[in-house]
Symmetry: C2
Protein backbone atom coordinates (compact mmCIF):
# COMPACT_ATOMS: atom_id res chain seq x y z
CA UNK A 1 0.00 0.00 0.00
CA UNK A 2 3.03 2.28 0.21
CA UNK A 3 2.69 3.22 -3.46
CA UNK A 4 -0.71 4.69 -2.79
CA UNK A 5 1.00 7.54 -1.00
CA UNK A 6 2.88 8.59 -4.08
CA UNK A 7 1.12 9.97 -7.12
CA UNK A 8 2.31 8.18 -10.27
CA UNK A 9 0.84 10.78 -12.59
CA UNK A 10 0.95 14.56 -12.37
CA UNK A 11 -0.95 16.77 -14.77
CA UNK A 12 0.24 20.35 -14.50
CA UNK A 13 1.52 19.40 -11.09
CA UNK A 14 -1.77 17.96 -9.83
CA UNK A 15 -2.18 14.34 -8.83
CA UNK A 16 -4.98 13.58 -11.28
CA UNK A 17 -5.21 11.17 -14.20
CA UNK A 18 -7.34 13.25 -16.52
CA UNK A 19 -6.60 16.16 -18.81
CA UNK A 20 -8.62 18.65 -20.88
CA UNK A 21 -10.08 17.05 -23.97
CA UNK A 22 -9.32 20.31 -25.81
CA UNK A 23 -5.56 19.79 -25.55
CA UNK A 24 -3.65 20.26 -28.79
CA UNK A 25 -1.50 17.26 -27.98
CA UNK A 26 -4.55 15.07 -28.55
CA UNK A 27 -5.92 17.03 -31.49
CA UNK A 28 -2.75 17.52 -33.53
CA UNK A 29 0.15 15.74 -31.79
CA UNK A 30 1.23 19.31 -31.04
CA UNK A 31 3.75 18.44 -28.36
CA UNK A 32 6.91 16.65 -27.32
CA UNK A 33 7.82 13.86 -24.96
CA UNK A 34 10.78 12.35 -23.14
CA UNK A 35 11.13 8.89 -21.64
CA UNK A 36 13.69 8.98 -18.87
CA UNK A 37 15.27 6.15 -16.90
CA UNK A 38 15.45 6.92 -13.19
CA UNK A 39 17.68 5.31 -10.62
CA UNK A 40 16.00 6.18 -7.34
CA UNK A 41 15.45 9.91 -7.62
CA UNK A 42 18.34 10.39 -10.04
CA UNK A 43 18.09 10.50 -13.83
CA UNK A 44 21.60 9.81 -15.12
CA UNK A 45 20.83 11.23 -18.58
CA UNK A 46 18.74 14.14 -17.32
CA UNK A 47 20.69 16.97 -18.92
CA UNK A 48 20.61 15.27 -22.33
CA UNK A 49 16.86 14.72 -22.12
CA UNK A 50 16.28 18.32 -21.09
CA UNK A 51 18.55 19.65 -23.84
CA UNK A 52 16.50 17.75 -26.42
CA UNK A 53 13.21 18.89 -24.90
CA UNK A 54 14.48 22.46 -25.00
CA UNK A 55 15.56 22.16 -28.64
CA UNK A 56 12.19 20.65 -29.53
CA UNK A 57 10.36 23.50 -27.81
CA UNK A 58 12.36 26.01 -29.85
CA UNK A 59 11.55 24.15 -33.08
CA UNK A 60 7.81 24.05 -32.27
CA UNK A 61 7.67 27.58 -30.88
CA UNK A 62 6.66 26.42 -27.41
CA UNK A 63 7.63 28.34 -24.28
CA UNK A 64 10.81 26.95 -22.75
CA UNK A 65 9.92 24.22 -20.25
CA UNK A 66 10.64 24.87 -16.58
CA UNK A 67 13.35 22.27 -16.09
CA UNK A 68 13.55 22.60 -12.32
CA UNK A 69 9.85 22.06 -12.02
CA UNK A 70 10.04 19.00 -14.28
CA UNK A 71 12.89 17.59 -12.20
CA UNK A 72 10.86 18.08 -9.05
CA UNK A 73 7.83 16.38 -10.61
CA UNK A 74 9.88 13.42 -11.89
CA UNK A 75 11.18 12.94 -8.37
CA UNK A 76 7.64 13.07 -6.96
CA UNK A 77 6.17 10.46 -9.31
CA UNK A 78 9.10 8.07 -8.92
CA UNK A 79 9.23 8.28 -5.12
CA UNK A 80 9.62 4.89 -3.48
CA UNK A 81 10.83 3.16 -6.64
CA UNK A 82 14.42 1.98 -6.87
CA UNK A 83 14.34 2.05 -10.67
CA UNK A 84 11.65 3.55 -12.83
CA UNK A 85 10.88 5.26 -16.10
CA UNK A 86 9.46 8.79 -16.13
CA UNK A 87 7.58 9.98 -19.16
CA UNK A 88 7.18 13.71 -19.65
CA UNK A 89 4.68 14.99 -22.18
CA UNK A 90 4.84 18.71 -22.95
CA UNK A 91 2.16 20.00 -25.33
CA UNK A 92 1.03 23.39 -26.62
CA UNK A 93 -2.01 23.10 -24.33
CA UNK A 94 -5.49 24.22 -25.32
CA UNK A 95 -6.56 27.15 -27.44
CA UNK A 96 -5.91 28.53 -30.86
CA UNK A 97 -8.22 27.94 -33.78
CA UNK A 98 -7.76 24.54 -35.41
CA UNK A 99 -4.18 24.38 -36.72
CA UNK A 100 -3.62 28.06 -35.84
CA UNK A 101 -1.68 27.94 -32.59
CA UNK A 102 -2.53 30.36 -29.77
CA UNK A 103 -0.32 33.44 -29.54
CA UNK A 104 0.54 32.77 -25.93
CA UNK A 105 0.34 29.05 -25.43
CA UNK A 106 0.02 27.64 -21.93
CA UNK A 107 1.64 24.23 -22.27
CA UNK A 108 0.24 21.11 -20.65
CA UNK A 109 2.72 19.16 -18.56
CA UNK A 110 2.17 15.48 -17.90
CA UNK A 111 4.70 13.58 -15.81
CA UNK A 112 4.15 9.90 -15.14
CA UNK A 113 6.14 7.01 -13.70
CA UNK A 114 6.23 3.29 -14.39
CA UNK A 115 8.46 0.45 -13.26
CA UNK A 116 11.69 0.21 -15.25
CA UNK A 117 12.53 -2.93 -17.21
CA UNK A 118 15.70 -4.65 -16.00
CA UNK A 119 18.96 -3.63 -17.66
CA UNK A 120 19.87 -7.30 -18.11
CA UNK A 121 21.17 -8.24 -21.54
CA UNK A 122 18.44 -9.20 -24.02
CA UNK A 123 18.88 -11.68 -26.86
CA UNK A 124 17.29 -9.57 -29.51
CA UNK A 125 16.06 -10.92 -32.85
CA UNK A 126 15.05 -8.19 -35.27
CA UNK A 127 13.59 -7.98 -38.73
CA UNK A 128 12.64 -5.23 -41.16
CA UNK A 129 9.15 -3.75 -40.83
CA UNK A 130 7.19 -2.99 -43.98
CA UNK A 131 5.62 0.20 -42.60
CA UNK A 132 7.77 3.03 -43.94
CA UNK A 133 8.84 5.96 -41.83
CA UNK A 134 7.91 9.39 -43.12
CA UNK A 135 10.54 11.52 -44.82
CA UNK A 136 9.86 14.63 -42.77
CA UNK A 137 12.64 17.22 -42.70
CA UNK A 138 10.42 19.51 -40.59
CA UNK A 139 10.10 17.01 -37.76
CA UNK A 140 13.13 14.74 -38.16
CA UNK A 141 15.12 14.28 -34.97
CA UNK A 142 12.35 15.59 -32.72
CA UNK A 143 10.65 13.42 -30.14
CA UNK A 144 7.21 14.78 -30.98
CA UNK A 145 3.92 13.10 -30.13
CA UNK A 146 3.12 11.85 -33.66
CA UNK A 147 4.23 8.20 -33.49
CA UNK A 148 1.56 6.41 -35.47
CA UNK A 149 4.04 4.87 -37.90
CA UNK A 150 5.89 3.25 -35.01
CA UNK A 151 2.59 1.91 -33.67
CA UNK A 152 1.76 0.40 -37.08
CA UNK A 153 5.24 -1.06 -37.45
CA UNK A 154 5.00 -2.63 -34.01
CA UNK A 155 1.73 -4.28 -35.01
CA UNK A 156 3.63 -6.14 -37.72
CA UNK A 157 5.71 -7.90 -35.06
CA UNK A 158 2.73 -9.20 -33.07
CA UNK A 159 2.90 -12.98 -32.69
CA UNK A 160 6.44 -13.16 -34.09
CA UNK A 161 9.58 -13.90 -32.12
CA UNK A 162 11.16 -10.63 -33.23
CA UNK A 163 11.63 -8.30 -30.29
CA UNK A 164 12.15 -5.22 -32.43
CA UNK A 165 11.74 -4.11 -36.02
CA UNK A 166 13.95 -1.94 -38.17
CA UNK A 167 12.17 0.80 -40.07
CA UNK A 168 13.17 2.23 -43.43
CA UNK A 169 12.02 5.59 -44.67
CA UNK A 170 9.85 6.02 -47.73
CA UNK A 171 13.00 5.97 -49.90
CA UNK A 172 14.20 2.66 -48.46
CA UNK A 173 16.92 4.05 -46.21
CA UNK A 174 17.24 2.24 -42.88
CA UNK A 175 16.60 4.78 -40.10
CA UNK A 176 16.02 3.18 -36.72
CA UNK A 177 14.08 0.54 -34.83
CA UNK A 178 10.54 1.27 -33.67
CA UNK A 179 11.77 2.47 -30.29
CA UNK A 180 15.54 2.47 -30.48
CA UNK A 181 18.38 3.82 -32.57
CA UNK A 182 20.57 1.55 -34.66
CA UNK A 183 24.33 1.08 -34.92
CA UNK A 184 25.89 -1.08 -37.63
CA UNK A 185 29.39 -2.56 -37.32
CA UNK A 186 31.46 -3.51 -40.31
CA UNK A 187 35.06 -4.67 -40.01
CA UNK A 188 36.58 -1.24 -40.02
CA UNK A 189 33.76 1.17 -39.37
CA UNK A 190 30.77 1.79 -37.11
CA UNK A 191 27.82 3.58 -38.69
CA UNK A 192 24.50 4.90 -37.52
CA UNK A 193 21.79 6.19 -39.84
CA UNK A 194 21.76 9.87 -40.62
CA UNK A 195 18.61 11.43 -39.15
CA UNK A 196 18.36 14.65 -41.15
CA UNK A 197 15.14 13.57 -42.85
CA UNK A 198 13.56 10.96 -40.58
CA UNK A 199 13.86 9.38 -37.17
CA UNK A 200 14.33 10.36 -33.57
CA UNK A 201 17.70 11.62 -32.38
CA UNK A 202 17.96 9.50 -29.25
CA UNK A 203 19.86 10.70 -26.22
CA UNK A 204 21.42 7.23 -25.85
CA UNK A 205 22.56 7.41 -29.48
CA UNK A 206 24.32 10.67 -28.62
CA UNK A 207 25.92 9.18 -25.53
CA UNK A 208 27.08 6.08 -27.42
CA UNK A 209 28.70 8.22 -30.10
CA UNK A 210 30.54 10.18 -27.42
CA UNK A 211 31.74 7.07 -25.58
CA UNK A 212 32.99 5.51 -28.81
CA UNK A 213 34.68 8.75 -29.87
CA UNK A 214 36.42 8.87 -26.48
CA UNK A 215 37.78 5.42 -27.29
CA UNK A 216 39.12 6.73 -30.58
CA UNK A 217 36.32 5.14 -32.55
CA UNK A 218 34.49 7.69 -34.66
CA UNK A 219 30.95 6.75 -35.65
CA UNK A 220 29.90 7.65 -39.16
CA UNK A 221 26.39 9.09 -39.63
CA UNK A 222 25.53 7.57 -42.98
CA UNK A 223 22.88 6.63 -45.45
CA UNK A 224 22.33 2.93 -44.83
CA UNK A 225 20.39 0.45 -46.91
CA UNK A 226 19.01 -2.92 -45.90
CA UNK A 227 21.95 -4.73 -47.48
CA UNK A 228 24.35 -2.72 -45.29
CA UNK A 229 22.61 -4.26 -42.30
CA UNK A 230 22.48 -7.73 -43.81
CA UNK A 231 26.21 -7.65 -44.56
CA UNK A 232 27.17 -6.22 -41.19
CA UNK A 233 29.40 -8.05 -38.77
CA UNK A 234 27.21 -6.96 -35.89
CA UNK A 235 24.31 -4.66 -35.04
CA UNK A 236 23.09 -3.14 -31.85
CA UNK A 237 20.13 -1.02 -30.84
CA UNK A 238 20.02 1.46 -28.00
CA UNK A 239 17.65 3.70 -26.15
CA UNK A 240 17.58 5.64 -22.92
CA UNK A 241 15.44 3.09 -21.09
CA UNK A 242 17.11 -0.22 -22.01
CA UNK A 243 20.63 0.91 -22.80
CA UNK A 244 22.52 -1.21 -25.33
CA UNK A 245 20.62 -4.06 -26.99
CA UNK A 246 22.91 -6.27 -29.10
CA UNK A 247 21.15 -7.87 -32.04
CA UNK A 248 21.75 -11.62 -31.99
CA UNK A 249 19.68 -12.36 -35.09
CA UNK A 250 18.70 -10.27 -38.12
CA UNK A 251 15.91 -11.98 -40.05
CA UNK A 252 17.23 -15.57 -40.21
CA UNK A 253 20.93 -14.74 -39.78
CA UNK A 254 22.61 -15.21 -36.41
CA UNK A 255 24.99 -12.46 -35.40
CA UNK A 256 27.92 -12.36 -33.03
CA UNK A 257 28.20 -9.79 -30.27
CA UNK A 258 31.70 -8.31 -30.53
CA UNK A 259 33.70 -7.46 -27.47
CA UNK A 260 33.40 -3.77 -28.26
CA UNK A 261 29.62 -4.03 -27.90
CA UNK A 262 29.90 -6.05 -24.70
CA UNK A 263 32.15 -3.42 -23.19
CA UNK A 264 29.96 -0.58 -24.35
CA UNK A 265 26.95 -2.33 -22.90
CA UNK A 266 28.63 -2.65 -19.49
CA UNK A 267 29.69 0.96 -19.54
CA UNK A 268 26.19 2.19 -20.40
CA UNK A 269 24.66 -0.11 -17.78
CA UNK A 270 26.93 1.44 -15.19
CA UNK A 271 25.89 4.94 -16.26
CA UNK A 272 22.16 4.12 -16.26
CA UNK A 273 22.53 2.51 -12.84
CA UNK A 274 23.80 5.81 -11.52
CA UNK A 275 27.41 4.68 -11.29
CA UNK B 1 -28.56 30.48 -21.44
CA UNK B 2 -30.19 27.97 -23.78
CA UNK B 3 -26.84 26.53 -24.76
CA UNK B 4 -26.18 25.54 -21.18
CA UNK B 5 -28.79 22.82 -21.59
CA UNK B 6 -26.89 21.16 -24.38
CA UNK B 7 -23.52 19.53 -23.85
CA UNK B 8 -21.03 20.74 -26.45
CA UNK B 9 -18.54 17.97 -25.71
CA UNK B 10 -19.14 14.27 -25.17
CA UNK B 11 -16.36 11.93 -24.14
CA UNK B 12 -17.43 8.31 -24.61
CA UNK B 13 -20.96 9.62 -24.50
CA UNK B 14 -20.58 11.51 -21.23
CA UNK B 15 -20.97 15.27 -20.95
CA UNK B 16 -17.52 15.92 -19.53
CA UNK B 17 -14.56 17.92 -20.85
CA UNK B 18 -11.76 15.73 -19.59
CA UNK B 19 -10.27 12.46 -20.78
CA UNK B 20 -7.79 9.91 -19.46
CA UNK B 21 -4.22 11.17 -19.64
CA UNK B 22 -3.19 7.64 -20.62
CA UNK B 23 -4.97 7.85 -23.98
CA UNK B 24 -2.89 6.75 -26.95
CA UNK B 25 -4.26 9.63 -28.98
CA UNK B 26 -2.25 11.98 -26.77
CA UNK B 27 0.80 9.76 -26.46
CA UNK B 28 1.26 8.71 -30.10
CA UNK B 29 -1.38 10.45 -32.26
CA UNK B 30 -2.83 6.94 -32.41
CA UNK B 31 -6.24 7.94 -33.71
CA UNK B 32 -8.36 9.57 -36.38
CA UNK B 33 -10.62 12.57 -36.63
CA UNK B 34 -13.38 14.04 -38.77
CA UNK B 35 -14.57 17.63 -38.96
CA UNK B 36 -18.15 17.70 -40.12
CA UNK B 37 -20.36 20.62 -41.13
CA UNK B 38 -23.85 20.38 -39.68
CA UNK B 39 -26.95 22.13 -40.86
CA UNK B 40 -29.29 21.89 -37.90
CA UNK B 41 -29.14 18.21 -36.99
CA UNK B 42 -28.23 17.12 -40.52
CA UNK B 43 -24.72 16.52 -41.81
CA UNK B 44 -24.96 16.71 -45.61
CA UNK B 45 -21.63 14.88 -46.13
CA UNK B 46 -22.16 12.38 -43.32
CA UNK B 47 -21.78 9.19 -45.33
CA UNK B 48 -18.52 10.39 -46.89
CA UNK B 49 -17.07 11.30 -43.49
CA UNK B 50 -18.08 7.95 -42.05
CA UNK B 51 -16.70 6.05 -45.03
CA UNK B 52 -13.33 7.75 -44.50
CA UNK B 53 -13.40 7.13 -40.75
CA UNK B 54 -14.19 3.48 -41.44
CA UNK B 55 -11.33 3.16 -43.95
CA UNK B 56 -8.97 4.83 -41.49
CA UNK B 57 -10.00 2.43 -38.73
CA UNK B 58 -9.23 -0.51 -41.01
CA UNK B 59 -5.81 0.94 -41.86
CA UNK B 60 -4.94 1.49 -38.19
CA UNK B 61 -6.44 -1.79 -36.99
CA UNK B 62 -9.05 -0.06 -34.82
CA UNK B 63 -12.46 -1.59 -34.14
CA UNK B 64 -15.05 -0.30 -36.58
CA UNK B 65 -16.69 2.82 -35.15
CA UNK B 66 -20.36 2.64 -34.20
CA UNK B 67 -21.71 5.03 -36.81
CA UNK B 68 -25.23 5.21 -35.40
CA UNK B 69 -23.88 6.13 -32.01
CA UNK B 70 -21.64 8.80 -33.54
CA UNK B 71 -24.60 10.23 -35.47
CA UNK B 72 -26.63 10.37 -32.28
CA UNK B 73 -23.80 12.11 -30.42
CA UNK B 74 -23.23 14.64 -33.20
CA UNK B 75 -26.92 15.51 -33.00
CA UNK B 76 -26.69 15.90 -29.23
CA UNK B 77 -23.73 18.27 -29.23
CA UNK B 78 -25.11 20.42 -32.05
CA UNK B 79 -28.60 20.74 -30.58
CA UNK B 80 -29.96 24.28 -30.75
CA UNK B 81 -27.47 25.44 -33.35
CA UNK B 82 -28.66 26.23 -36.86
CA UNK B 83 -25.22 25.64 -38.32
CA UNK B 84 -22.26 24.09 -36.58
CA UNK B 85 -19.15 22.01 -36.98
CA UNK B 86 -18.81 18.67 -35.22
CA UNK B 87 -15.42 17.23 -34.59
CA UNK B 88 -15.13 13.53 -33.91
CA UNK B 89 -11.89 12.12 -32.50
CA UNK B 90 -11.60 8.33 -32.43
CA UNK B 91 -8.44 6.96 -30.81
CA UNK B 92 -7.11 3.55 -29.83
CA UNK B 93 -7.86 4.43 -26.20
CA UNK B 94 -5.60 3.50 -23.31
CA UNK B 95 -3.51 0.41 -22.79
CA UNK B 96 -0.81 -1.50 -24.59
CA UNK B 97 2.86 -1.11 -23.79
CA UNK B 98 4.43 1.97 -25.35
CA UNK B 99 4.11 1.61 -29.14
CA UNK B 100 2.75 -1.92 -28.77
CA UNK B 101 -1.00 -1.54 -29.19
CA UNK B 102 -3.38 -3.44 -26.93
CA UNK B 103 -4.81 -6.64 -28.41
CA UNK B 104 -8.38 -5.56 -27.81
CA UNK B 105 -8.39 -1.79 -27.94
CA UNK B 106 -11.29 0.11 -26.42
CA UNK B 107 -11.36 3.28 -28.50
CA UNK B 108 -11.95 6.70 -27.01
CA UNK B 109 -14.71 8.70 -28.67
CA UNK B 110 -14.73 12.48 -28.42
CA UNK B 111 -17.53 14.42 -30.12
CA UNK B 112 -17.56 18.19 -29.86
CA UNK B 113 -19.44 21.06 -31.47
CA UNK B 114 -18.54 24.63 -32.36
CA UNK B 115 -20.26 27.39 -34.32
CA UNK B 116 -19.80 27.06 -38.08
CA UNK B 117 -18.11 29.79 -40.08
CA UNK B 118 -20.39 31.38 -42.70
CA UNK B 119 -20.36 29.84 -46.16
CA UNK B 120 -20.00 33.31 -47.66
CA UNK B 121 -17.38 33.64 -50.37
CA UNK B 122 -13.90 34.48 -49.08
CA UNK B 123 -11.29 36.48 -51.01
CA UNK B 124 -8.41 34.18 -50.35
CA UNK B 125 -4.77 35.15 -50.78
CA UNK B 126 -2.38 32.21 -50.48
CA UNK B 127 1.34 31.65 -50.53
CA UNK B 128 3.67 28.68 -50.27
CA UNK B 129 4.73 27.58 -46.80
CA UNK B 130 8.33 26.56 -46.21
CA UNK B 131 7.46 23.75 -43.78
CA UNK B 132 7.52 20.59 -45.86
CA UNK B 133 4.89 17.91 -45.56
CA UNK B 134 6.14 14.42 -44.76
CA UNK B 135 6.35 11.84 -47.52
CA UNK B 136 4.51 9.13 -45.64
CA UNK B 137 3.04 6.33 -47.75
CA UNK B 138 1.88 4.56 -44.56
CA UNK B 139 -0.32 7.46 -43.48
CA UNK B 140 -1.03 9.38 -46.71
CA UNK B 141 -4.71 10.08 -47.25
CA UNK B 142 -5.68 9.36 -43.65
CA UNK B 143 -7.10 12.02 -41.37
CA UNK B 144 -5.02 10.86 -38.41
CA UNK B 145 -4.24 12.93 -35.34
CA UNK B 146 -0.62 13.75 -36.24
CA UNK B 147 -0.89 17.28 -37.67
CA UNK B 148 2.17 18.99 -36.33
CA UNK B 149 3.47 19.95 -39.77
CA UNK B 150 0.23 21.79 -40.49
CA UNK B 151 0.54 23.60 -37.16
CA UNK B 152 4.09 24.68 -38.01
CA UNK B 153 3.09 25.76 -41.52
CA UNK B 154 0.23 27.80 -40.11
CA UNK B 155 2.66 29.60 -37.80
CA UNK B 156 4.47 30.89 -40.88
CA UNK B 157 1.35 32.80 -41.91
CA UNK B 158 0.93 34.63 -38.59
CA UNK B 159 0.84 38.38 -39.15
CA UNK B 160 0.63 38.08 -42.94
CA UNK B 161 -2.41 38.78 -45.06
CA UNK B 162 -2.36 35.26 -46.47
CA UNK B 163 -5.42 33.32 -45.38
CA UNK B 164 -3.99 29.95 -46.28
CA UNK B 165 -0.68 28.39 -47.23
CA UNK B 166 0.14 25.73 -49.79
CA UNK B 167 2.35 22.93 -48.58
CA UNK B 168 4.84 20.96 -50.64
CA UNK B 169 6.14 17.57 -49.64
CA UNK B 170 9.77 16.92 -48.87
CA UNK B 171 10.41 16.37 -52.60
CA UNK B 172 8.90 19.74 -53.58
CA UNK B 173 5.58 18.44 -54.92
CA UNK B 174 2.61 20.66 -54.10
CA UNK B 175 0.17 18.60 -52.02
CA UNK B 176 -2.51 20.71 -50.34
CA UNK B 177 -3.16 23.75 -48.19
CA UNK B 178 -2.77 23.52 -44.42
CA UNK B 179 -6.46 22.70 -43.97
CA UNK B 180 -7.88 22.33 -47.46
CA UNK B 181 -7.31 20.44 -50.68
CA UNK B 182 -6.16 22.19 -53.84
CA UNK B 183 -7.46 22.28 -57.40
CA UNK B 184 -5.50 23.90 -60.21
CA UNK B 185 -7.10 25.08 -63.45
CA UNK B 186 -5.19 25.41 -66.67
CA UNK B 187 -6.89 26.27 -69.97
CA UNK B 188 -7.84 22.74 -70.85
CA UNK B 189 -7.44 20.71 -67.69
CA UNK B 190 -8.28 20.68 -63.99
CA UNK B 191 -5.77 18.96 -61.73
CA UNK B 192 -5.53 18.14 -58.08
CA UNK B 193 -2.42 16.77 -56.39
CA UNK B 194 -2.03 13.04 -56.17
CA UNK B 195 -2.17 11.99 -52.50
CA UNK B 196 -0.53 8.57 -52.65
CA UNK B 197 2.45 9.68 -50.59
CA UNK B 198 1.31 12.72 -48.61
CA UNK B 199 -1.74 14.73 -47.72
CA UNK B 200 -5.29 14.22 -46.51
CA UNK B 201 -7.90 12.83 -48.90
CA UNK B 202 -10.64 15.36 -48.16
CA UNK B 203 -14.29 14.41 -48.46
CA UNK B 204 -14.96 17.73 -50.20
CA UNK B 205 -12.19 16.96 -52.68
CA UNK B 206 -13.99 13.71 -53.46
CA UNK B 207 -17.34 15.49 -53.85
CA UNK B 208 -15.83 18.17 -56.10
CA UNK B 209 -14.30 15.53 -58.35
CA UNK B 210 -17.68 13.81 -58.65
CA UNK B 211 -19.56 17.02 -59.41
CA UNK B 212 -17.04 17.99 -62.07
CA UNK B 213 -17.09 14.50 -63.59
CA UNK B 214 -20.91 14.70 -63.76
CA UNK B 215 -20.43 17.87 -65.79
CA UNK B 216 -18.14 16.00 -68.17
CA UNK B 217 -15.04 17.53 -66.66
CA UNK B 218 -12.60 14.89 -65.52
CA UNK B 219 -10.12 15.99 -62.86
CA UNK B 220 -6.58 14.70 -63.23
CA UNK B 221 -4.80 13.54 -60.06
CA UNK B 222 -1.28 14.65 -60.85
CA UNK B 223 2.14 15.46 -59.62
CA UNK B 224 2.16 19.23 -59.38
CA UNK B 225 5.08 21.56 -58.83
CA UNK B 226 5.06 25.15 -57.64
CA UNK B 227 5.40 26.45 -61.20
CA UNK B 228 2.23 24.56 -62.20
CA UNK B 229 0.41 26.65 -59.61
CA UNK B 230 2.14 29.88 -60.60
CA UNK B 231 1.24 29.35 -64.25
CA UNK B 232 -2.34 28.34 -63.55
CA UNK B 233 -5.34 30.29 -64.82
CA UNK B 234 -7.08 29.80 -61.51
CA UNK B 235 -6.83 27.90 -58.24
CA UNK B 236 -9.32 26.98 -55.61
CA UNK B 237 -9.18 25.29 -52.23
CA UNK B 238 -11.91 23.26 -50.63
CA UNK B 239 -12.78 21.53 -47.41
CA UNK B 240 -15.85 20.08 -45.76
CA UNK B 241 -16.37 23.05 -43.44
CA UNK B 242 -15.94 26.04 -45.79
CA UNK B 243 -16.84 24.49 -49.14
CA UNK B 244 -15.14 26.05 -52.16
CA UNK B 245 -12.59 28.80 -51.53
CA UNK B 246 -11.45 30.47 -54.77
CA UNK B 247 -7.91 31.80 -54.60
CA UNK B 248 -7.87 35.45 -55.66
CA UNK B 249 -4.14 35.91 -55.16
CA UNK B 250 -1.17 33.52 -55.23
CA UNK B 251 1.90 35.21 -53.72
CA UNK B 252 1.80 38.61 -55.50
CA UNK B 253 -0.20 37.51 -58.54
CA UNK B 254 -3.92 38.28 -58.75
CA UNK B 255 -6.08 35.50 -60.09
CA UNK B 256 -9.46 35.46 -61.75
CA UNK B 257 -12.31 33.30 -60.52
CA UNK B 258 -13.68 31.48 -63.57
CA UNK B 259 -17.38 30.89 -64.01
CA UNK B 260 -16.86 27.17 -63.54
CA UNK B 261 -15.57 27.82 -60.02
CA UNK B 262 -18.41 30.27 -59.25
CA UNK B 263 -20.96 27.67 -60.30
CA UNK B 264 -19.22 24.89 -58.40
CA UNK B 265 -19.09 27.11 -55.33
CA UNK B 266 -22.87 27.76 -55.50
CA UNK B 267 -23.60 24.09 -55.96
CA UNK B 268 -21.45 23.08 -52.98
CA UNK B 269 -22.95 25.84 -50.84
CA UNK B 270 -26.40 24.47 -51.62
CA UNK B 271 -25.31 20.97 -50.62
CA UNK B 272 -23.65 22.11 -47.39
CA UNK B 273 -26.76 24.15 -46.55
CA UNK B 274 -28.79 20.96 -46.68
CA UNK B 275 -30.38 21.78 -50.02
Amino acid sequence: MAAANHPRVLVDGKAVEVMPVSDRGLHYADGLFETIRMCGDKAPLWSRHMARLDRGAVRLGLPAPDLELLAHECTRVSAGRSTSVCKIIYTRGSGGRAYVAPDNPRPLRVVMSREAPPLARIELAVTFCRTPLAISPALAGLKHCGRLEQVLARRELAGSDFGEGLMCDAAGRVIEATSANLFVLHDDIISTPDLAKAGVAGVMRELVMEILADQGCQVSESTLEKHDCRQARALFLCNAVRGIMPVTRLESKDLEVPQLVEKLSCKVETILSGG
